[in-house]
Symmetry: C2
Amino acid sequence: MINKTTLDFRVYLVLDPDLTAQFGMVETAVAAAQAGAGLIQLRAPNWKKRACYDCAIALKKALRPFHIPLIVDDHVDVALAAQADGVHVGQKDLPIEVVRQLVGPDMIVGLSINNLAQLESMNPHLVDYIGVGPVFATTTKKDADAPIGVSGLSNIAQLSPVPVVGIGGINEERTVEIARTVADGIAVISAICGQVDPGKATRNLLAAWQKGRLS
Amino acid sequence: MINKTTLDFRVYLVLDPDLTAQFGMVETAVAAAQAGAGLIQLRAPNWKKRACYDCAIALKKALRPFHIPLIVDDHVDVALAAQADGVHVGQKDLPIEVVRQLVGPDMIVGLSINNLAQLESMNPHLVDYIGVGPVFATTTKKDADAPIGVSGLSNIAQLSPVPVVGIGGINEERTVEIARTVADGIAVISAICGQVDPGKATRNLLAAWQKGRLS
């Protein structure tokens, strides 16, 4: 069982089936885990559930030695079936009250937040962290909202009662900027999945985070 | 609670968001229920989960007076959250063993079957009925297998340990043919959803079923 109180949100990898085509989902996840990613999310909106379930099982097994949580995007049923450590939902997915009822108190539940109104309407007792964004324009999420910028992220992070990860169009340089806010970390897809060396990309993002945080 | 042993599989309506655009999902379901449909399925593969959940809740409420089961396609989490009466999965959805474990013994579980090999590999103790097809070519399911014909349906129905509904391209005339096999009913989308009068279409399908069965 993952300890929810000691999560490391600095670099949160969201796996993408298209961008990981070169190395594969599991290999990319393991490379990032070895390099210090603190959470791994399986997000495959175009996959059928069987493929998603099979991948979740494979990821769960491969990530066991690293003791970092596997989060499943959207599909609460897949998260439960694969005994993932958590589930992440957006504003158009199942309501957070329903999700928490289905998964129980121990599973990690993350929620996507785009603006202050969404933060204010959220019951913080049901949510373990929020993914806030898109901070910058993103190409990997087709139906993304307009970018909120680092200032938009910073505003939400200052008011959030739960840990905050910025998401959307984040690269090394932008990680330094975000680390200067009170946000707890960054979530990335292409900054790791799309890279020639996913492990090295993860280390560089962690270094960029440390640089921003300490400056 | 729906009694699983007394289900009426003769005419099983599968709701489609595009084809029900004229009357709406709930109105179409109620018209079919009033006219004698025995089961109603919510199938919206292109919808986000929130829309699917909201629709399931609305259908559950609207169908309560008719005492007929609401089945949710694919999404076990939505079925559980909306307290639907059952869930229907295909060969590329969550494995039936996993589905049964998530929903417990009382919920109705249906499985799509295309050939004898799939029937043979199925654990009949976990499944309450099978949807067999496509019997004829269909336009409403984009990734459908090749049609198996009435003879293909008949072969599978003769060997099935659980009730069988034929699905795929079924209209009134073809319902008469299928009712002459040992199958238990038909599942239709466009033969009800796409019609000017969904209630009348349902009555006509039931009459066609009776005609075939008695002949």
